[in-house]
Amino acid sequence: MPAVDLAGLGLDEGGHLLVARALAGLAAGERLTVTGRHPALRLHLAAWCRAHGHQLAGDDDLTVVRGDADDRRWAGAVRAGDAAGVPSPRADLGWGLAARGALVEAGGPPLGARWSEREHVWADIAPQLYAAAAASQWDPATAVDWAVPVDGVPAEVERAVVQLMTYLVENEQAALIIPARLLSQLHPHYREVMQLLASQAADEARHVEVFTRRALLSGGPLGTSSAGGRASLQTLLDEPDFTTASFLLSVLGEGTFLDLLRFIAEHAPDQVTADVTRLAVRDEARHVAFGVAHTAHLAAADKSYLSTLRQAVERRHSALQDTAGLNAEVFDSLVVLAAGSWSPEAISLGWRAVRDLQSRMDEGRRRRLAYIGFPDDEAAELSALHTRNFM
């Protein structure tokens, strides 16, 4: 008969582990002899067996008859997909929060996740993008030299910088809330996407911080927030679908922002402004890469999805048709930033620089739309419908 010796170990100090391990190798109904010197061993073993569905037999020796409760507990268990391989096409809500690849006991509360199909959330590049995001986290306290003075910046240009920072904070707050909301509805089986969205939200949190700090550097009040700009961002928050939200935010909005941030960095009148916008560009590029890859992944699997994306752009455009779109003060600030002064010659140069910026933004959007699968003419048409508010 199989046997296990506990020596002097009691079941109140881990002895049950040895008994359970020995029982695990037996079938229900098979017997195990337990020996040991602990004075309360029989009492302990009787109580432990009762609680675990085993039977304690034998008056002189200690014999445990293995019960079948453990077998029954795991009878309906399934693996939550494959830990090392690609995620499953459908993630069972019954897997709940179990790790991918874990053996999941049946029962327990089902997850309330909305996004539980791979096609609706996945991109093959997600694991690499998450790895890149994890490796590129920066500390706002040290990544920017906040001690560099900005008092050399002309007052009118400084006002333009503060207005732009005010506008950026507003946009980054929208860009933080959207991935956070998608994240809360995502089945964690797609963990790389979950991790990526979490890092994206963390990125935006840092951007909110550094843009706020730059705006406050010269000690003045913040700039304005226009109703039209906020209306434009609200349409992003209202987008219910994972892919269309990711498409509008990351492909079109953050894609456009890449050019905007590079523009501000290029024309920055001080080192802090240049640094905070360059740091943000690095992060935003990853967000854009995921949005483009995921949207392209879905569109490749289902060509008809392009029309859903198109409708999302058109819907947003018509919702914003009667609003002002971009805050006029933001546009003016871009011109002043590029001009560097209020002389007519400088303003003329600044004006042309912003016009060039808008055409670069348009080219970028068309390129990304074409990559996703839109024909060139349709890409041009959709790019033109993008919000005047940039994001």
Binding site: G10, L11, D12, E13, P39, A40, L43, H44, A46, A47, W48, R50, A51, H52, G53, G67, A69, R72, R73, A75, G76, E105, A106, G107, G108
Partner: protein, 286 residues
């Protein structure tokens, strides 16, 4: 008609358990409902009076229900019990370094028990001491930890307080021995209330049985069906398993009434109930 069960709300989980069982039993075609009691005494009188069809009784509640029903000529039918209700023991423990080596040597010492109405931590262990020739009233100082009166010891608090008192920092609060059920001896050891090696088992009761479910009257076909369904509850069923875990069993078993003789004797010795099931314990009013 249907089946109305009475259960004692000794813990909030009782609602979860019986809500879940109710849903499952109704799916199985039994028109089942339940009511909760704040104490076993009221549940027992309602069972005997026929206000509930079936009662989930503590062992002490069974003893009283049997006596009360017999005195009134009301038949009762046992329905089921848990696998974990069979073959339990209670123990009396002392500190490992205690000079007390036998039950007889407890004379003149302080013995901690659970609540006055706890079968496992008061009535049965005190009966064990009586069997060894000690009169708890005269020979010992019994220090009772009355937590959850009326719950018949279902609340673990009294037993845990009794165990803690073995190692009370203030000598005035310290006791020489403590009474508890075997499963709580293990629980208190594992959770650190009684660190490993800190206590010695001085005495243990013979085996006895714990809770039992009892129906009013002769079993109706509905009660019989209800009992069959409980006995058929499968631990492999993912819907039922969490409820069975909460209720502390792997399997319902056919009832047996052979495991209550010790408690019947202990109740008589302590004068807890009279032969007709009236509550006679001094000062016990749940």
């Amino acid at each position: 008609m249907g089946v109305l069960l009475g259960a004692v709300a000794y813990d909030p989980k009782v609602v979860t358990i019986w809500d879940g069982f109710r849903a499952w039993l109704r799916e199985c075609g039994v028109d089942f409902d339940y009511v909760l009691y704040s104490n076993y005494e009221r549940q027992v009188t309602d069972l005997v009076d026929g206000r509930v069809d079936v009662a989930w009784n503590s062992p002490l509640a069974w003893v009283r229900a049997r006596r009360l029903a017999a005195s009134r000529g009301v038949p009762l039918t046992p329905v089921t019990m848990r696998d974990t209700d069979c073959d339990l023991r209670s123990v009396v423990v002392v500190r490992a370094d205690s000079p007390v080596r036998s039950v007889g040597e407890l004379a003149g010492h302080i013995v901690a028990t659970g609540a006055v109405d706890s079968p496992q931590a008061t009535l049965l262990p005190l009966s064990l001491l009586r069997a060894a020739g000690l009169d708890p009233e005269a020979d010992l100082a019994v220090r009772r930890f009355d937590v959850g009166l009326g719950l018949h010891g279902d609340h673990i608090g009294g037993e845990r307080d009794a165990a803690r008192a073995l190692f009370a920092a203030d000598p005035a609060d310290r006791v020489d021995a403590a009474c508890m059920i075997d499963s709580n001896l293990l629980v208190f050891g594992r959770e650190g209330t009684l660190p490993a090696g800190s206590v010695r088992v001085l005495a243990q009761t013979p085996l006895y049985d714990h809770c039992t479910m009892t129906a009013h009257g002769d079993a109706s076909p509905e009660i019989a069906r209800f009992g069959e369904l409980l006995l058929g509850m499968d631990y492999a069923n993912a819907e039922l398993r969490p409820l069975l875990d909460l209720e502390g069993l792997k399997q319902w078993r056919p009832p047996r009434l052979s495991g209550y003789a010790q408690l019947e004797a202990a109740v008589d010795e302590a004068g807890f109930y009279d032969a007709n099931g009236a509550v006679t314990a001094a000062g016990y009013r749940p």
